[in-house]
Subunit: 217 residues, 2 copies
Amino acid sequence: MHTLSEENYLKAIYRLSQEEGVKITPTAIADSLGNNPASVVDMIRKLTDKQLIAYDKKSGVSLTTQGRKDAVLIVRRHRLWEVFLLEKLGYHWDEIHDIAEELEHISDTTLADRLEKFLGFPEYDPHGDPIPQANGKMAKPYSVSLADMQTGTTCQVAAVRDTSSAFLQYLLKLNIGIGTKISLEEKISYDNSLVISINGNDNTTVSQKFGENILVE
Amino acid sequence: MHTLSEENYLKAIYRLSQEEGVKITPTAIADSLGNNPASVVDMIRKLTDKQLIAYDKKSGVSLTTQGRKDAVLIVRRHRLWEVFLLEKLGYHWDEIHDIAEELEHISDTTLADRLEKFLGFPEYDPHGDPIPQANGKMAKPYSVSLADMQTGTTCQVAAVRDTSSAFLQYLLKLNIGIGTKISLEEKISYDNSLVISINGNDNTTVSQKFGENILVE
DNA sequence: AAATAAAATTAGACAAACCTAATTTTATTT
DNA sequence: AAATAAAATTAGGTTTGTCTAATTTTATTT
């Protein structure tokens, strides 16, 4: 189908396109992939030639219908493999992202469908991200963060925005996982730190950045 | 660990090293990978620098201890993934080889061990090849072919030497799989064709090449 | 609006892994 | 042993995907 690099660009562009009101510029793509903008310009030309993206200086990069379809398939494979690694092979949730980054590029046409069936058609991956179905549809992603909550309310962790192992290991240490109940006790107005109670236990203080990376319901 | 290409060379050299009394020359490696001998010479230099192989004009290419270890790990991963694809995802045995060629390069250190445990420590892959264990040991490969049998004897299919889908689909059509009972009724001396009876059914004639690619016990 | 800063682009280079064509070395015949 | 064939090697080129440095374009300040 596409090269490893092409797929990684498609995925990065897709991810950026999910963030509302963000113009997808060469610099944004470069930052997202840790690449040089000059390299991005080359790849924009290549993907434009392949009719997977369109590039307009005014509005930035956008995916074509085919490009979006291909990107969603890669995301689908990534998230299905994550479920497999966690549920079947017993990995912890801070270990699965990097392995799924490799597995998502395995190209057999029926593999994702078979894996999905084998896993029992999961709707969400272990980080709470919705898994695209074969037809491209998927459940609505969670969007309300812990930092968006009102003081005095209680919620449940639904997903994490950051899938880095540093963040996930911190969560593991705090005993926070998908489904954990968190009460927002206080917002420190000085730096927007959050005082929370995890599963009804003693209060803990976490940063604003932390709160923005936890999605709740 | 290594690049995709390096791993494929290691695997090819390992495979050639399993064939008794065959000197591993640049040309042999080139043929085995479908590459140009000039490219092979480049890679021999690279793998020699990395101390994975040794090259002596007189005796040819050989794997170092590290090189063999790395090659066996790739074979281990390949065969474990084949079991997974067949048993868990419901692929047929003519479909799994190419997918496993991709999966074998996934590099996480504990993946093979976890997969092996998940699959119940299989000893042989779906083509009858022994699966190397974590310590590098493995069951003895089958080595007696149908063409080696005496006329009038009966045997069971234990493994296939050729894993191309053309060959495996032919076997599927003939209703031959691992465990199938075959009686050798007659050898045609003109071209060494074999007249066989599959599971006690009516006779079928197959070529010498066919018989050499079926290993029996 | 002019000056300055930032972003985008071009130009040219590089490493990996391949190739072809030419040459050298080794092996096989006669 | 000389002639011939085959194999190995070198030299130089190509593609992919990256880079740095220089330049041009666009955006932001003053």
